[in-house]
């Protein structure tokens, strides 16, 4: 193993953590509007992610930064090629952040309703666009022999396969959000989120299975590809069984496994390349070609070795501090 390959999988890990943590944030963003029947219920749902969503979002930024840092050529080809999906992603991130932070700043029904609607749209768009971005990457984009993007940014990431990847992540976010809420909320809302968790985890299993098999057959037709597909299906099957058995904490960790399987199968499909060229196989950008200099990678390795475990440690502590199930009283008292 060399540093570029290690970083390739470090990036896969960071994106997995992002899908795992922001997955339930996006899901909660959508479910607030869909399942919350009163302002109190909606505030309770937002409170469930309140202390952590902002830090969860940093995993996305870190995932992007590490592509830039460790593989500048990959970043410089992939980001302009996904101009429209990424632009919409940024818009949705902005809207989502303000929807959470500003909705309860005015006790006006039209104001809160507008922000909840905005959060619903953004919560749908975000996982969808992330799925389109990564599936589009697996599918490949037009890059020339110099590793430069030369296509049309409008459509280069859009295909049936990438849309399927997007929808699978939307379903995942809804299921994961509902499972998360079933561990955090109380009152009549609890029943509704549990029912949603059942339905959505089944839909997620179906969409993720089709996506995994497609990835395996079309882009990773080897033993590793097959293994990753099996692992993905298995993870989401565990979630379904756990949800139906009422073992929601197990379902929650099953979704963590699912996020990891989903992202790693994408990276495994790309390996040993970072970006396939749709113009000519010879132009495909490999891990080695796209990597930063070994000095820069060494610096990054030190930063990552200190930074990533450190972040995981204090973020876990924060989750532990706020581990308690929410009640009406705690929600009424606090911020949001």
């Amino acid at each position: 193993m060399n540093l570029p390959v290690i970083f390739f999988f470090v990036i896969a890990f960071v994106w997995s953590v992002f899908v795992f943590l922001e997955g339930f944030d996006f899901g909660v963003g959508m479910l607030t509007r869909i399942l919350g029947r009163s302002d109190g219920e909606r505030r309770m749902m937002l409170r469930a992610i309140g202390p952590n969503w902002d830090a969860n979002e940093v995993w996305l930024l870190t995932g992007g930064i590490l592509i830039f840092s460790a593989f500048p050529t990959w970043y410089a080809a992939a980001f302009p090629s996904a101009y429209i999906p990424l632009l919409l992603l940024v818009f949705a991130l902005i809207i989502r952040a303000l929807a959470i932070e500003y909705r309860s700043k005015r006790p006006d029904h039209r104001w809160t309703q507008a922000w909840d609607n905005a959060n619903l749209v953004a919560g749908f768009a975000l996982p969808f666009l992330v799925g389109v971005f990564w599936a589009g990457m697996v599918h490949g984009i037009p890059i020339d022999g110099d590793g430069r993007f030369v296509g049309d940014s409008l459509w280069s990431h859009i295909s049936v396969y990438s849309v399927l990847g997007g929808l699978a992540l939307v379903a995942y976010s809804l299921a994961h959000g509902a499972v998360f809420l079933s561990l955090k909320v109380s009152g009549p809302l609890l029943e509704r989120v549990t029912v949603t968790a059942r339905g959505m985890s089944l839909i997620t299993l179906a969409l993720m299975s089709v996506f995994a098999v497609w990835t395996w057959l079309a882009y990773a037709d080897d033993a590793i590809g097959a293994t990753m597909a099996v692992l993905t299906v298995l993870a989401f099957a565990i979630v379904v069984m756990a949800v139906y058995a009422g073992r929601l904490l197990l379902a929650f960790w099953g979704n963590a496994l699912g996020a990891l399987a989903f992202m790693v199968s994408i990276f495994a499909a790309l390996y040993p390349n970072v970006l396939p060229s749709t113009i000519d196989d010879g132009f495909t950008l490999t891990i080695a070609e796209a990597a930063a200099s070994s000095y820069a990678l060494t610096v990054l390795a030190i930063v990552a070795v200190i930074g990533i475990p450190g972040v995981i440690a204090y973020q876990s502590w924060s989750f532990w501090v706020f581990r308690k199930r929410l009640t009406k009283d705690t929600v009424d008292a606090g911020h949001y």
Binding site: L61, P80, K105, R106, R148, S153, L300
Partner: protein, 468 residues
């Protein structure tokens, strides 16, 4: 290379989104420690007035911080989306500071803000207090890392050009992180933020004092802001001067443009008050200045000579080949003056206000209070013009002496960039108005009832007496 309309639109989008982001950054940088200090005072003294100020300025900080974070995300994407040639060129260098910003600053900032907001009453009080200080640390570190990347663009150090790809490779991390320009630019930004926040607190307090409401707490805020603000203004004068001296050495063209000095002048070079630069003729159509002052400011002596843009242009042509190496002088000259003028106006007014309110006086003049409110805008303008000055002055380079702006853009269609720019203008106009309205409402409403709980705190026993 590149279509000049594409370059212009891409630059406009970057400038627009970054300046919008920087409407909120200084206030966060300055208001975060302000709230942390108030919370510490509350912890130490138990004085309820501090608690009310924490609640009040804390909620303003949060409204501002939310949009600051949201509008900052685009930069991480935009480097690649719109400036892919640049990204490839500097990726090896930018990697380290940006990864550090993510892993050592953004995570700290966001995690500990969450703990502060929701953790009151759940964490031991000392530990809870430390979370707001970690949040401050995160915001200040974040500014440091991104400024070390920006300083590389202003003055590239610690790199070697890769003989195969022609891109810059990192060879010395210490040089990139700790070059004097980075340290001084960071101080300049932090002090600018503290100045903006103190003038903001001062102005908000003035609003309430004008109406003689919440007098007891607001008087405290007013005084604290005045003292910090005057100190910050004085400090900024020194830091700005040091930065200017570094700039004269590293980017003489920028500083010559700032003073609209075309021909090398001196001894006794005049400092311009009014100039009408003629970029085509490479001269000024009109120039009114104070004799000898520029020599004194730039070289600390009367006989100092200031190198003019025409001489520098010749040097650069020799060094880099034919081309125009002069930034837009009109923008440079006036943005430099606007930065200093607006930047220091707030501090100067605070000196006057300090004299007017000495020994506990509360002036009755409506005009005094109105100016004290409107002065809030001054440091904002100062900060924005500062960025306009320094980024315009770097042109035509995106990485000084290494890569030109016109060569750095992604090869996108003009229509696509026009659409995304329009999208940003519309979205930012909407959220900008919303933010302004919310800030105004919360600022005008004033500190809440002392019985109201702190953010994230369970209800007080007294106030929840009526609840079941």
């Amino acid at each position: 290379m590149g279509d000049s309309l594409l370059v212009d639109l891409s630059r406009l989008q970057f400038a627009f989104t970054t300046l919008f982001h920087f409407l909120f950054v200084p206030l966060t940088l300055g208001l975060a420690p302000w709230v942390a200090i108030l919370d510490t005072m509350y912890y130490r003294t138990g004085d309820e007035r501090y608690a009310r100020l924490v609640r009040f300025f804390g909620s303003l900080l949060l409204i501002n911080f939310a949009i600051g974070v949201a509008s900052g995300i685009i930069q991480e994407f935009q480097f690649g989306m719109n400036w892919s040639v640049f990204s490839r060129f500097v990726g090896d260098i930018f990697g380290a500071p940006l990864a550090m910003e993510g892993l050592f600053a953004f995570f700290i900032e966001s995690t500990f803000l969450g703990l502060w907001l929701f953790g009151r009453g759940r964490l031991p009080r000392r530990l809870h207090l430390s979370t707001i200080w970690l949040f401050v640390l995160g915001t200040w570190l974040s500014a440091y890392f991104i400024l070390s990347a920006n300083s590389f663009m202003q003055n590239p150090v610690g790199f070697a050009i890769d003989p195969v790809t022609g891109d810059a490779n990192l060879t010395d991390l210490g040089a990139v992180l700790f070059q004097p320009l980075t340290i001084v630019a960071w101080l300049h930004t932090i002090v600018g933020g503290v100045l903006a926040a103190t003038v903001f607190v001062f102005g908000v307090a003035a609003y309430h004092l004008k109406r003689r409401q919440h007098v007891e707490v607001m008087r405290k805020a007013f005084r604290m802001a005045m003292i910090t603000g005057i100190a910050a203004g004085a400090l900024q004068f020194v830091v700005g001067d040091v930065l200017g001296v570094i700039m004269v050495d590293k980017q003489p063209m920028k500083m010559a443009a700032a003073e609209a000095v075309w021909e090398t002048t001196g001894p006794c070079a005049p400092l311009g008050l009014v100039a009408v630069p003629d970029q085509e003729a490479r001269d000024n159509s009109l120039f009114i200045g104070v004799p000898c002052l520029l020599s004194i400011v730039a070289t600390n002596s009367l006989d100092g000579e200031v190198t003019g843009m025409n001489e520098l242009q010749e040097q650069y042509e020799e060094q880099f080949g034919p081309g125009d190496y002069t930034p837009n002088v009109w923008i440079a000259f006036y943005s430099f003056r606007a930065m200093m003028g607006f930047g220091l106006l707030g501090a100067i007014w605070m000196v006057f206000a300090w004299w007017k309110t000495r020994r506990g006086r509360l002036p009755t003049s409506k005009l005094f209070w109105s100016i004290s409110i409107w002065i809030i805008a001054a440091p904002w303008l100062g900060n924005l013009f500062g960025w306009i000055f320094t980024e315009n002055g770097r042109q035509p380079w995106v990485v000084y002496g290494l890569l030109k702006t016109e060569d750095a853009v992604s090869d996108l269609s003009v229509g696509l960039v026009a659409v995304s720019l329009a999208g940003f203008v519309i979205l930012y106009a909407i959220i900008g108005v919303i933010e302004f309205v919310l800030m105004r409402r919360y600022a005008i409403r004033g500190p809440m009832d002392p019985d109201e709980p702190m953010p994230g705190e369970p209800p007080r026993v007294e106030s929840s007496a009526g609840a079941p």
